[in-house]
Amino acid sequence: MYGVTRRIARCTRARPRAGGAAPIPPLYLPYISPVSPLYLAQAEREAQAELLLAVMARGERQHAPCAAGLAALAQAREPNPNPNLDPNPNPNPTPSPEQALEPGHLGPLLEAALFADAPSGRAAAMRALALVPALKGLLYPAEGVLAARLWLLRLDADVSHP
């Protein structure tokens, strides 16, 4: 995609040939940029985590894509440096970090990290929890219990060596 964007950018700098179409004004480039933030409600993010964990609980076949999905859900997106050009402006802007799972919506992940049957399921949930910015940086002191459980889980032999 980046290569395509570069080519488009080159076109915008090119002079039009005689009788040819005018180049795309550079002003439009941000609007065709492939950077596409996806703002979803926390409840929808939590539902996504629940579905991924439910699929994981059914067997090993889909563990890898589900674990990747959980990790993606947990991580933060870098704040948009130029929100005025954002094609999907965040209707509920939050302070950075944006769009990661937030405290209050970590129940399914914590439940799976503690009680999932398969060690690899517990490990995937724990790795995702470890990526949640609120726990990573302990930005929310009220989540100290969650953080303590997370640290205890790191001592779980099954999780340490899935």
Binding site: Y2, S36, L38, Y39, A41, C66, A72
Partner: protein, 130 residues
């Protein structure tokens, strides 16, 4: 849906028009598949917590639709589109084994679509100026 359809009966006609309009707001990909998406969404929301096999006609509606979305989507849908796709994915992913080969393929497509919409933004490499 439950308020409109009474939970078990057929939804009144205005619900279909309403959902047709809602699907139309879900982005170009949903608009291109407006009829099948609207029908599948209505069926999916008739019993949200159950597997797709529990609703007559839902499996046969979801199979081609999710395969079509899976083949067509190279980037996440806009947020409104994801909100409408999520109930369909949930019904497909709640199907428990043993299941038919067609149901398994539908579930694989649903899982791929769910994974596509987990990332908060497309990952791009850090690059210099163009």
């Amino acid at each position: 849906m439950q308020a409109a359809g009474g939970g078990g009966g057929r939804a009144p006609a205005w619900v279909e028009s309403l959902f047709d309009a809602l699907v139309g707001c879900g982005g170009a990909q949903l608009r291109q598949r407006r009829g099948p998406s609207c029908r599948a969404l209505l069926l999916a929301l008739s019993a949200p917590g159950l597997p797709m096999g529990a609703t007559d006609g839902l499996s046969s509606a979801l199979a081609p639709l999710l395969a079509d979305y899976h083949g067509a989507l190279r980037a996440p849908l806009p947020p409104a589109g994801v909100s409408m796709l999520l109930p369909m994915l949930a019904r497909a992913l709640r199907e428990e084994p043993p299941m038919s080969e067609a149901a398994r393929e539908t579930q694989d497509a649903a899982l791929a679509l769910l994974g596509l919409h987990c990332a908060p933004a497309l990952g791009l490499a850090q690059v210099g100026e163009i």
